[in-house]
């Protein structure tokens, strides 16, 4: 049998969404950004909201998100995506607006903007990629870097006495009455990807239903920054990140956060 006999519509079991732009990504092998881009593209496609969507890209490895997801985008200054999104959604309340941010962008330089946007309950989705490191600038410590974790600015491992504690910003966000859905997910295998997609879908639906801010953290890997192979990085994440950043919903619909797990 020739390859041409196999590549036929009736044999098709998987197809890239049209919303995902046909191009080579700049992300490293094993990087979680690419997977989350794929899920988001699929959802924008499946939910039929491409024409109504405005994305806000961060400064960080996802700065080029607009090269991969075929919607209108704005590129925000480092950490300011939630303020930019506020400007969009306040003057265009009929649009579906989301920010896509890394942990340095969201939890460090942009901590004020994310807390206040969530506290105002801006009607938007926040996708938060927590890889515990500054990927783009070469692997420096992030506010989310866990105790003892080696980065280029914590070469001996994060030292709490020197650097302070790793920040669970999602737990802080869940306290804010402006948020309607706050969850922590991952995307390291098929099962996790399916769950993550369900969460993102719920978040998008909440925004379409004007329920305020939906906040989806994805605990992620950064093979290059962590100096590990993609397989080793996934294992390290499961063994070291998940105990500190437990997966699951922190808040769903109620005004009160569900913090019992932590």
């Amino acid at each position: 049998m020739d390859i041409k006999d196999i590549i036929k519509p009736e044999n098709l079991v998987y197809q890239k969404s049209d919303v995902q732009i046909d191009t080579i990504m700049h992300y490293c092998p094993g990087c979680t950004h690419g997977v989350v881009h794929k899920i988001l593209s699929e959802l924008i496609d499946e939910m039929g909201i491409q024409e109504n969507t405005v994305g806000v890209a961060p400064v960080g490895c996802a700065v080029f998100a607009y090269n991969y997801i075929d919607v209108d985008w704005q590129e925000a200054a480092h950490g300011r995506a939630p303020a930019v999104a506020t400007g969009i959604v306040r003057t265009n309340p009929d649009k579906f607006v989301f920010t896509y941010q890394g942990d340095g962008d969201l939890a460090s330089i942009g901590a004020a903007e994310i807390l206040h946007a969530c506290n105002r309950g801006e009607n938007m989705l926040v996708v938060f990629i927590n890889n515990g490191i500054y990927g783009m600038t070469g692997g420096q410590m992030a506010p989310t870097t866990i105790d003892g974790m080696v980065t280029s600015t914590t070469p001996g491992g994060r030292d709490i006495a020197l650097n302070g504690y790793p920040m669970k910003i999602t737990e802080l966000i869940a306290q804010l009455p402006g948020t309607s859905y706050v969850t922590r997910q991952s995307a390291q295998n098929a099962g996790a990807v399916r769950k993550c997609k369900r969460s993102l879908k719920k978040g998008i639906q909440n925004v379409l239903d004007k329920k305020g801010t939906s906040f989806i953290e994805v605990v992620s890997t950064c093979s290059s920054g962590w100096k590990m192979t993609p397989v080793a990085a996934n294992r390290w994440m499961e063994e070291n990140m998940f105990p500190f950043y437990p997966l699951g919903d922190l808040k769903d619909g109620s005004k009160e956060p569900n913090l019992s797990k932590n």
């Binding site: 024409e51 209108d72 985008w73 704005q74 649009k95």
Partner: protein, 362 residues
């Protein structure tokens, strides 16, 4: 004739924004300009015209909210005073780099640092030379009356959209706080979705229909050749502003031997100083730049060969004086350019200015 009122400069900025069809104001309180947002919150324009008003968590947030809304083709603005404008510098640079239209107002107070809440003009450099990082310019309008506070809101938006560039109203605590008679502009409706498509559809992020490519608003370009080309385009734009948008006023310059150059509050003071000097038989005129960028270089150069000297009168240690010297230098004639200024929130008296002129030139 439009509606006549007696109003404070800051209140007029708010009123003019509502009337010119502004879509949104984002701001953070700081003296001496908090009345702008307070006036808007009392007026509640969201019920009347649909204009959005939001108190942000900081000036950093305000300017980035402006970025977000402006990038959807909306007419939006913010205002602050000196320390707040410093915080906005990164955002303004992004707005210039992404070529977005917006209006911002600096009701200047004395610096540096927390300084004072009294009026000053010491943010001239920051305003006309860029202010944030990178090679960019803002269109800078300097009102000298409450009436011009009204007029420059509409004009600022018009220029911002014409050039896809941030426009700045550079004023100070004196004009912001003083009350004068003002003829308000008539109401203009906010732009409809169709109008936004017509004016800004090529670049505005309003959601991507199948019929067009995605619109991406960014100041980022990793390819240096392309980034240089972007910069060339910006510089062309600034040159065009210098050719087409210079605005100024001259008072008694025709027979003048000495010209005072002053903007905003200082120009109001100098108007009186010119009268006093003329009564004493000194032939003095006043050149008032209305646009600080683009600066009335050509007008100054034209006057240079007919006068004995220029006195730059500023409420600063002497900033605009450098631009006057450059303009004089370009004229080919050589006359003396001096500076007189008060700092730290002090407004000079008209007599003080006349004395300075005499001391430096006579």
């Amino acid at each position: 004739m439009g509606e006549l009122r007696l109003m404070k400069g800051n209140e007029v900025l708010a009123e003019a924004a509502i009337r010119c069809g502004c879509d949104g104001y984002f701001g953070y309180p700081i003296t001496p300009q908090s009345e702008i947002m307070e006036t808007l919150m009392v007026r509640q324009p969201w019920d009347e015209t649909g204009m959005v008003v939001l108190q942000a968590e900081s000036e950093i947030a305000s300017i980035n909210m402006v970025y977000g809304a402006a990038a959807t083709g909306k007419k939006v603005m913010t205002s602050s005073s000196s320390p707040g404008i410093s915080l906005m510098a990164e955002g303004i640079s992004y707005i210039a780099g992404a070529e977005l239209p917006c209006l911002f107002v600096n009701v200047v107070r004395g610096g540096p640092g927390l300084g004072t809440i009294q009026p000053s003009q010491a943010d001239y450099f920051q305003s006309v030379k860029g202010g944030g990082h990178g090679d960019y310019k803002c269109i800078v309008l300097a009102p000298a009356s409450v009436q011009e506070m009204n007029d420059f809101v509409g004009l600022g938006f018009e220029l911002a959209f014409k050039y896809l560039n941030p426009a700045l109203i550079l004023t100070d605590g004196a004009i912001g706080q003083m009350m004068e008679k003002v003829e308000l502009a008539d109401y203009k409706p906010r732009w409809t979705k169709e109008e936004i498509q017509k004016y800004s559809g090529k670049w505005a992020t309003t959601g991507k229909p199948n019929s067009r490519k995605q619109n991406v608003v960014t100041s980022l370009e990793m390819d240096s050749d392309k980034m240089e080309a972007n910069n060339r385009r910006f510089q062309e734009k600034y040159k065009k502003m210098e050719e087409e948008e210079v605005r100024f006023e001259t008072i008694m310059c025709d027979d003048a031997e000495y010209i005072m150059v002053a903007f905003g509050t200082s120009a109001r003071i100098c108007q009186k100083s010119v009268e006093i000097a003329r009564e004493q038989g000194i032939k003095v005129g006043l050149l008032r730049p209305i646009t600080l960028f683009p600066f009335p270089k050509k007008e100054i150069a034209k006057l240079t060969c007919h006068v004995k000297g220029f006195l730059s009168v500023e409420m600063s240690a002497g900033q605009m004086v450098e631009d006057i010297k450059l303009a004089v230098h370009e004229s080919g004639c050589n006359v003396r350019v001096e500076h007189f200024g008060r700092m730290g929130g002090i407004i000079p008296s008209p007599n003080e200015v006349v004395d300075a002129l005499k001391e430096k030139f006579l």
